[in-house]
């Protein structure tokens, strides 16, 4: 089932007439290859099991072979067992300890590569927290979320290119652009049923990508915009991986804090009511349309913020960073992490970025494993790995 066999059906299909012995051998070999492949492709069950086997084998091989993964210290990602004493700490103290630990992490991780992977993980955590407003809290299925990220990234890229605006000044504008895009998509489709909304947003995501790819005059087409400025703070240019790590961490923390506050507020309860039963919520006086639009705008806002940081980190944006697959990836972070729970979705985001990095080199197979993980997670752990806990009513009985 390797790449060597891949050409055999085509070779045989061309039906080259050649009477020499060597050609006979070759044809026999091709036929054999075709039969083997057909066995794999034509029997659905073997096909699915086979792909599972490929994914598992590739992962295991990659983990135990000392080749490509040697630059990653084995065991450095071991999950830490939570001691009993941590559980008894005050939540605010716990949060502070976690924040200090995360801030100091670049000092502990001396390898540039590890810091960069974590930065990417934090960027995606911001995205996942943003999508959590829409999917996790409000229960609207949006499949084109990456379009808002793209809009934020291009907003900063264009502002920087044409007006020379730095990241910190452009950040609010990029967030505004993302939020407006969220409203723009949300406004006409609020009355649609769940899966129709999914399709409209999917179509929106595709349209944004195709337009970015073809509108040469503004977006420079498939090449994208290059030479975007890195941020600078009081004349001090932030270029080191650690600086980006801390920026991304701050962004994630703000996004996280905002969301956990909002969940506990009246708005958060309204979102949950809509998610559980829209009709009942409407009858209880929840302004359904307003709340849904607010969720869309909040989602777009954080995607825009993450997009701007992404653009300045890469100094280059192009449409190929914003494919449908990225939307699916963020959705998976939310769903697998635990819908509605900001801790869950952040952990989901960081692990979905970090885990594949551990299996680097098996790069081609990780999508296969990813797809299987989605199917299996839906089958065996639908509510995600860190599901949202219900809020307790204040003074309830």
């Amino acid at each position: 089932m390797g790449a060597n066999d891949a050409d055999s059906p085509q070779g045989a299909a061309n039906g080259v007439k050649d009477d020499s012995v060597a050609a006979d051998h070759r044809r026999a070999f091709e036929a054999l290859g075709a039969v083997a492949l057909t066995g794999a492709i034509t029997l659905p069950f073997t096909g699915l099991i086979g792909s599972l086997a490929i994914a598992v084998a590739a992962g295991l091989f990659q983990y135990y072979s000392s080749g490509d993964a040697s630059h990653i210290k084995r065991g450095s990602w071991q999950p830490i067992a939570v001691p009993q004493i941590v559980r008894t700490l005050h939540p605010k103290l716990k949060g502070a300890i976690a924040a200090v630990f995360l801030l100091l992490l670049p000092l502990l991780l001396l390898q540039r590569y590890q810091i960069e992977v974590l930065t990417l993980g934090l960027l995606y955590a911001t995205l996942a927290i943003g999508l959590n407003y829409i999917v996790g809290l409000c229960g609207l299925l949006v499949l084109g979320y990456i379009a808002f990220y793209a809009i934020g990234a291009y907003a900063y890229a264009l502002l920087n290119l044409h007006f020379g605006i730095g990241l910190f000044a452009a950040w609010p504008l990029a967030m505004l652009a993302g939020a407006l895009a969220g409203l723009l998509v949300g406004l006409p489709v609020m009355r649609l049923r769940g899966d129709y909304l999914a399709i409209v947003t999917l179509g929106f995501g595709e349209i944004v990508r195709i337009v970015l790819n073809n509108w040469d005059a503004v977006t420079a087409g498939p090449n994208g915009i290059m030479g975007i400025a890195r941020p600078s703070l009081f004349g001090w240019k932030l270029t080191s991986p650690s600086a980006y790590y801390i920026l991304a961490l701050l962004l994630t923390c703000v996004a996280f804090y905002t969301q956990s506050r909002m969940i506990k507020s009246r708005i958060g309860r309204a979102w949950e009511a809509i998610r559980e039963d829209e009709l009942a919520a409407a009858h209880c006086g929840v302004p359904v349309v307003k709340m849904k639009l607010l969720a869309m705008a909040m989602g777009g806002l954080w995607a825009g913020a993450a997009g701007a940081l992404f653009a300045s980190r890469m100094t280059h944006v192009s449409p190929e960073s914003f494919t449908f697959l990225e939307s699916v990836l963020v959705l998976c972070m939310v769903v697998l992490g635990g819908m509605g729970n900001p801790i869950g979705v952040s952990v989901g985001a960081v692990s979905l970025i970090v885990l594949p990095e551990l299996l680097r080199g098996a790069a081609g197979y990780r999508m296969l494993a990813f797809g299987l993980l989605l199917v299996l997670a839906m089958r065996y752990r639908r509510e995600g790995f860190l599901p949202m806990r219900r809020l307790k009513l204040a003074g309830g009985n």
């Binding site: 075709a34 659905p44 792909s51 999914a198 595709e206 349209i207 195709i210 296969l368 639908r382």
Partner: protein, 300 residues
């Protein structure tokens, strides 16, 4: 120019319609958007290439290319139907009654798995499907209808008439319609709903498999990611016609093919993928039931 685009549009539309039928039938019964359906179509195209290689390996060389393509289509339809049943059994049936989000995400997962599985087992490069009717065709004025286009249009028409008869006239069709209307009631009347759902998946997947073989013969070149775009567009076609209705899927497919062909011919071919989505979005906003669908209010 106009006639040529019309012919191209109808050809493309027939293929979209064949795929859209699978979406609409599954949606009609399960209210599930079967995202993996586009990948079944992609598998169908690969099965066409593999089938050709197999036929040559056993030295079976039919005299006319027509018989050859129909044999391949039959082969692809059978295998694709098996895939459809397997996917339903393994990924969707366990999630029945688990809301809408879970099966949709499982479908996305299956779609990713199939794409990557085919990429790894068949190679990432494009596969060639040999031209069977080199240079032949019928020329009316300055419009050329190739033999493959004719084949696609006729095959699709036959398939659609056959499906309509199956759904309207046979016992299985009656059972399918009953299950779509009210699954519990149908079960109480002695219909094996699981069996009917499996049959629905099998029929839809078989049609998509045939569409795959036809498109391989039409374009002469296939790759592992053709299923994504075609699947989305076919879904758009199903919604356009009114999802859940079988004539709607056919009409929607044809319309979408025509829009794409004329849009590419007269406006700009760079944006040809945008037209389909734009029409889809406009339809969903202003007439969410589609052309032939019922305008349903949200169920309580």
């Amino acid at each position: 120019m106009f006639l040529q685009q019309l012919i191209n549009g109808i050809t493309l539309g027939c293929v979209y319609a064949l795929i859209a039928l699978g979406y609409t039938m599954v949606y009609g019964i399960l209210q599930l958007i079967n995202f993996a359906h586009g990948e079944i179509y992609m598998l169908g195209a690969y099965l066409g290439v593999i089938g050709l290689a197999l036929l040559q390996a056993i030295h079976f060389a039919p005299s006319s290319p027509l018989v050859l393509v129909l044999t391949l289509a039959l082969f692809a339809a059978l295998i694709a139907a098996l895939w459809g049943i397997t996917i339903e059994r393994l990924a969707y049936r366990p999630l029945r009654g688990a809301g809408r989000l879970a099966p949709l995400i499982a479908a996305l997962g299956i779609s990713i798995v199939l794409q990557n599985f085919v990429m790894h087992s068949q190679g990432a490069r494009e596969k060639i499907f040999p031209a069977l009717w080199a240079g032949s065709g019928y020329i009316f004025g300055n419009t050329r209808v190739s033999a493959v286009q004719l084949l696609i249009i006729i095959t699709s028409a036959v398939m659609m008439v056959g499906l309509t008869l199956l759904v309207q006239k046979t016992r299985i069709g009656t059972a399918m319609r009953a299950t779509a209307q009210d699954r519990v009631m149908a079960q109480l009347c002695g219909i094996d709903a699981n069996m009917i759902i499996a049959i629905t998946f099998a029929i839809g997947s078989a049609l998509a498999g045939i569409a795959g073989v036809l498109i391989a013969a039409y374009y002469g070149m296939i790759n592992f990611y053709i299923g994504y775009q075609a699947g989305l567009k076919a879904f758009a076609a199903a919604v356009l016609g009114g999802i859940g209705t079988i004539p709607g899927a056919m009409l929607g497919g044809l319309l979408l093919g025509l829009v794409e062909a004329f849009g590419a011919g007269y406006l700009s071919s760079q944006y040809k993928d945008v037209y389909a989505f734009l029409i889809l979005i406009l339809f969903l906003i202003f007439r969410p039931g589609g052309l032939l669908g019922e305008q349903l209010a949200e169920k309580v």
